[in-house]
C-alpha cells in the first residue's frame, strides 16, 4: 500500500499550487475531510488515501499581528510585516501573510472580518511558499 513517505511529498503540492496562483488544501478521499495543515493520515478517519483540492480562497481573519522587530534571520524580510490566521470558508484554517493596504499599513484589518487569498509574486512564493491574504476589494 502506498503512503506519503516524507515531508517533501506532504508539503510539495501546496507550494506547487501556490506557484500556479492557487490555494489548495489536503482532502481525504475516504471521508471527505478537508485537512490543513496536511497530515500523513487523515485526522478524522485515520485513512491514508489523501489528495489535494482547490479552495475558494475566501475566509475570515481570526487574528493577526504586525511584527516590527526581531524577524528570524533566515526569513530574510525587513520588518514590519503582517501575519494572520485565516479560517477558510471551507473550514480549515492556516497561517499566512497579509498584504498592506494602499497606505502601506495594516490598520484596516480586523478580527473576524473577511479576507481573500491574493497570491504574492512568483519570486516571493518561490523563496517563501506562504499563502497571502488581503481585504476584499471595495471593502
Amino acid at each position: 500500500m502506498s503512503y506519503i513517505e516524507n515531508a517533501e511529498q506532504l508539503t510539495g503540492p501546496f507550494g506547487e499550487a501556490l506557484a500556479r496562483g492557487e490555494l489548495t488544501v489536503q482532502k481525504c478521499n475516504s471521508c471527505g475531510e478537508l485537512i490543513m495543515y496536511p497530515k500523513y493520515r487523515c485526522p478524522s478517519c485515520f485513512g491514508n488515501d489523501l489528495d489535494w483540492c482547490a479552495v475558494s480562497g475566501r475566509g475570515q481573519l481570526l487574528t493577526y499581528t504586525v511584527l516590527r522587530f526581531g524577524a528570524p534571520s533566515s526569513f530574510d524580510v525587513e520588518p514590519p510585516y503582517a501575519i494572520g490566521v485565516v479560517r477558510l470558508d471551507e473550514g480549515p484554517q492556516l497561517t499566512g501573510r497579509l498584504h498592506a493596504g494602499a497606505d502601506g499599513t495594516w490598520d484596516h484589518y480586523r478580527c473576524d472580518e473577511p479576507v481573500v487569498f491574493e497570491p504574492a509574486d512568483a519570486a516571493e512564493v518561490a523563496q517563501r511558499p506562504a499563502a497571502w491574504f488581503a481585504a476584499p476589494r471595495g471593502s
Binding site: Y37, L62, T63, Y64, T65, R68, V85, T95, A130
Partner: protein, 403 residues
Amino acid sequence: MSNMPYPQPGSASDAAFIGIGEIPSGKYPKRGFMAQLVEAAARAIQDSGLQHTDIDQLVLIPNLHGIPDQADLIFSRVAEELGLHGRVKSSMMVHSGGSTSDNATRAAAGLVASGQARNVLVVQSEKWGSADLTEMVDMLSVNGIPREWEGTSGLQFNAIGGLITQRYMHQSGSTPEEMASVCVALREWARLNPNAMWKDKELTVEQVLASKLVSDPIRAIECPYLADGAAAFVMTSATEARRNHDSWVRIGGSGGCVSHYSSGQDAELGELGWPKAAVEAYDAAGWGPQDADLAEVYDSYSAVLTIALEGLGLSKKGEAARDFHAKRFSPGGEFPVNTNGGLLSAGHTGVGGGMALLVEAVRQLLHRAEPERQVAGAERCIVGGSGGSYMDAQIMMLERVEK
C-alpha cells in the same frame, strides 16, 4: 478523558512536596549553568530536611540555551555533580516546554505512587539571560513553530504572543491600558520577591504604553525578558513526609488538554485548552476556583495569563484584564495571582518560568514565602502551565497538608 482514582490522601502512594530551592533570576553572566543547578538542588534538598544521599531518583528539566548543556543533563552529569553516582536508581529528563514543571510533577508523583522512587529531586537551570539574543530569537523562530507552514510567514514567538493578544482583546473588548495593567500587577508582586529579575524597578501603565510596539498589539515591556535562573523541588510519599515534617503539599488532582501544535491550528486561540483542562482538574480535586487561596499561572504574555484565568474560572469570561486593572489580583487585592512576579516580571527562564511559578506555589503552601508576600493561611493553590505555542493547558491542584 476521565480521571483515574487519585491516591488516598496520606497513603504511601500519595506524593508530597517537602522542599523547594531557587536562586535569583536575571542577567548573571558569571553564574555557570551547572553551578546554578547544583545550588538550586542543594537548597531544595536542605529545605526538604533530607541528606543528598537520600535522593534515589533525578528528574531533570531541560535548558533551552544550548544543546551541550542539555546533553549533560541527558547523560547523567547531575548524578555525578551531586555525588549521587552509584546511588540513584535513574536520571531522566521530562520536557514539554513551559508546562514541563507540571509534567515533571506528574512524572515524579507517578514514580513515588508506583513505588519506583522514594525521594525524587526535580531540578532546572537556564542561561537564557546571558545567551546571544539574535541566536535566541532564531531559536525561538525555529523550535516549536512549524517550519513548512508558519516559518514561511516569518512567525516567531513575540508574533505568536501578538496573535493571541489580538484575538483576546477582540473577544473581550479589553483596552491597551487594561492589558498593560497585567504587567503592572505582576511587577508589584515581583517587587516583593527577592528572587525576581525586576524586584528593584517600579512599573506604571504609562510606561508600558510608552514602550515601542514589537508585534501589534504587544509592546516591548509586554514581552518577557529572557533570564538566567534555577529552581528545584523534592517529592516523596506522604508516609515518608509524615516522619519528619509537620506540613507538606499534595496534589489534589490535575487536568490537562493539548489543544494544538501550531498556533495557526487552534480553533479557539482566545481560549486555548483551559476550559477543558479545568473541568477535569476540578472534578479530580473535588474543589474549584471558589475554594482556592491563590493561583500561579503561566504568563509569558499578558493575554496568555488572562485567557488562562478565564478558562480556570478565576475571572468571568472576558473580564480578566479588567480584573487586573481593578487591582483584584495585585498585592492586597481580593485574590493573589503569580505572587513571585510571574515570567513577565520575575524573568523568563525558559522552561524554568513554569518551574518558578510551581516552586512559588509550593513555597506559599508551605508558608515559607517572605512575609511581605506570603498569602496568610494559604491552603489551596491552582497552578497552571502551558508549553510551546500555548499548545497545552496543564493544571495542578495543590493542597497544604498538616500532620
